[in-house]
């Protein structure tokens, strides 16, 4: 069956701003399919972003959308969620937005385990500003601010999220599309802070400077380098060198923040009624 995206796309707002060969369009469509399959009413979902190429995604989606300041999507989303805990709140961010300028908000949202889904589109570079190295640019790669090869160590986003207290952590890629739909559904349905890293390719400011001759090369790299987490964990270390796991990487227990907060409110109000009555 052909999926009809029209229901979720804002009319007259396309074409998008992403460069030819950018993989964000793949993620965009996957997100719409996932939300449609969960049958979340459009009025019941908010999509919040910061700054960067990924942050433009909400503008194309016919939900409640909020395009905030660089790195700040999570605090705005926290305000929305605590004001309306009965609604779904999603954040779409990039590697620089989420883990550099927004890094503090990212780890604290994980610690609170508030019911927000944070989707990090990791393209390993600052794309919108023209190819500066980000906290996920591989060591040795060329970037406009690392013209002799990147010497900055990198973040492992899922490990960071898990360490900070997120109770659902996953990773997908723009190549493994059917799996990506399922991962987004898993992340959104999880009650608590979920972090889904999606490996993407930026041919314009990262790929072509780093021996990926075409956008296809970047997708092929994802195909060859990603291993399902079950296989990744089974294989001996020498076989997984240079590879990365995809799938649900971690799922834990933990009290969801808004539920805990409003349970306290209810308890206090009952206690007060008891006193007043």
């Amino acid at each position: 069956m052909v999926f009809n995206y029209d229901r979720h796309i804002r009319h007259g707002k396309l074409p998008h701003i992403w460069c030819p060969g950018c993989t964000y369009g793949i993620v965009f469509k996957s997100l719409l399919r996932a939300v449609e399959s969960m049958q979340i009413p459009k009025d019941h979902i908010a999509l919040v972003s910061g700054i960067g190429c990924a942050s433009r995604l909400p503008g194309y989606v016919d939900w409640n959308t909020l395009h905030t300041a660089h790195g700040r999507a999570i605090p705005f989303a926290t305000g929305l969620k605590m004001a309306r805990p009965d609604r779904k709140v999603l954040v779409v961010s990039g590697d620089g937005d989420a883990t550099a300028i927004g890094g503090n908000h990212f780890i604290h949202a994980c610690r609170r385990n508030i019911d927000i889904t944070v989707i990090v589109l990791n393209n390993f570079i600052y794309g919108m500003t023209g190819g500066q190295h980000s906290p996920t640019t591989p060591v040795g790669h060329l970037a406009t601010t690392m013209p002799f090869g990147n010497v900055d160590p990198t973040f492992n986003i899922p490990a960071l999220a898990k360490g900070a207290g997120a109770t659902w952590v996953g990773r997908g890629t723009a190549y493994h599309v059917p799996a990506l739909d399922k991962l987004i559904i898993g992340a959104v349905e999880h009650k608590g802070l979920s972090v889904l890293e999606i490996i993407n390719g930026c041919p314009t400011t990262h790929g072509r400077r780093n021996k990926f001759r075409s956008p296809t090369d970047m997708l092929l790299w994802m195909k060859e380098t990603a291993l399902p987490v079950s296989a990744f964990e089974k294989f001996p270390v020498e076989k997984t060198a240079g590879k990365f796991p995809i799938g649900v990487l971690y799922q834990g227990e933990g009290k969801e923040y808004s539920e805990t907060y409003f349970a306290m409110v209810e308890h206090l109000q009952k206690k007060q009624e008891g006193r007043d009555g």
């Binding site: 909400p58 016919d62 705005f76 305000g79 004001a83 309306r84 503090n104």
Partner: protein, 375 residues
């Protein structure tokens, strides 16, 4: 008759917020404003409200903007260095026309400065702290009772004009305890933002065809909308290099500048026959009042102009004063900030003198009296 209480300025501020219908506070601990958060932490959960201690000052403003967009009346409170950090998202609130209230209990600076000392040196930061041109409303209460009522007014102005509003007072009145009366519900007006009456399909979040303050729809209310910190068109979507940016930013300014009479409030003391006027706000206005009384006792025709609204600046009032008095004296706990505005509006029509102090103590009535005599 309302309820009589003995409260600190910061506590009165929290009471004012509750009176105005604030149900959402996000903040970060910082001296000398922390009591605002502590007081609300004890009260908000009891009325079903939300109190969040965020990871930093930046996040606090982000959270209250998110809450306000979902329909809540929301506030944050901070001091000097925290106020600097908040500026980024305050600009977002101004461009996206989000009603929020920001309390700044001023302390000495720059940098960590004197955390426990009073100051009035954030007053230009209120006006110019965030980048770009933007509308600014800033209220400057001087008494505990006034902190209560001006906080209520700040919420009303934020809702009426769909914009962030500052309440800036110094550490002295923030920590001073005075008797206050909290009026019964309904005594002070409490306003709510205008929400759209059109159908969701017709709604445009920045449609100014019905006036300079477009109705604001709550997130999740069926009025799906896009809000962006990029300059935007009436429908909320970004525009680049368009004449719309210019006219829209003028509209944002007009919301405040065009309603000066509604927003500007001040107290005057014995101005009618005054030859020398003390222009002071906050704690310096209190010292000014005492100095004027001392001067009158000595037969000097002195008067007081004490603004409760510092932004928009009472330009016309100062200009009118300058054309009929000999001198205006501006005491302020800075090295000379608001005196520049007074001087600008006086346009050379009278003498303008400043009294400046940043050593952590207030300007005394005697200091002002001495200057009155000199003038």
């Amino acid at each position: 008759m309302g309820t009589l209480k003995l409260l600190q300025g910061n506590e009165a501020c929290a009471e004012g917020a509750l009176y105005a219908g604030c149900t959402f506070f996000a903040g970060y601990p910082i001296t000398p404003s922390t009591e605002v958060a502590e007081y609300l932490a004890r009260r908000l959960p009891l009325i079903g409200g939300v109190i969040l201690q965020m990871e930093d000052e930046i996040a606090s403003v982000g959270a209250i903007i998110g809450a306000s967009l979902a329909g809540k009346k929301a506030m944050t409170a901070t001091s000097g260095p925290g106020f600097s950090l908040k500026q980024e998202n305050i600009g977002f609130g101004m461009l996206c026309e989000v009603p929020i209230v920001i309390i700044d209990v001023m302390r000495g600076g720059p940098s960590t400065g004197v955390p426990t000392g009073p100051s009035q040196s954030d007053i230009m930061q209120c006006k110019w702290g965030t980048h770009g041109d933007h509308p600014v409303i800033c209220l400057t209460p001087a008494y505990v009772q006034e902190i209560f009522s001006e906080t209520v007014r700040a919420f009303n102005l934020a809702e009426r004009y769909r914009t962030p509003v500052f309440v800036a007072f110094d550490e002295i009145v923030g920590h001073m305890r005075e008797r206050i009366e909290i009026p019964d519900k309904g005594v002070l007006p409490v306003e709510n933002r205008r929400r759209p009456t059109c159908s969701p399909s017709e709604y445009m979040p920045f449609d100014d065809t019905q006036g300079d303050v477009p109705p604001i729809a709550d997130f999740f209310s069926g009025y799906r909308q896009h809000i962006t910190g990029l300059n935007h068109a009436a429908d909320g979507f970004p525009v680049n290099a368009s004449p719309r940016i210019h006219t829209d930013e003028l509209r944002l300014l007009r919301k405040v500048e065009g309603n000066r009479k509604d927003i500007i409030r001040y107290e005057t003391v014995m101005l009618e026959d005054a030859e020398i006027v003390v222009f002071g706000y906050g704690v310096s206005g209190r010292s000014g009042k005492a100095a004027v009384e001392l001067a009158r006792a000595e037969g000097i025709k002195a008067g007081l102009f004490r603004p409760l609204t510092i932004w928009p600046f009472p330009e016309e009032e100062v200009e009118a004063l300058a054309s009929r008095v000999r001198g205006i004296i501006v005491p302020e706990l800075s090295l000379g900030q608001i005196v520049l505005e007074v001087d600008r509006c006086a346009k050379g029509r009278c003498r303008v003198d400043g009294i400046f102090r940043v050593d952590g103590d207030p300007i005394t009535p005697d200091q002002i009296l001495e200057k009155i005599k000199e003038v």
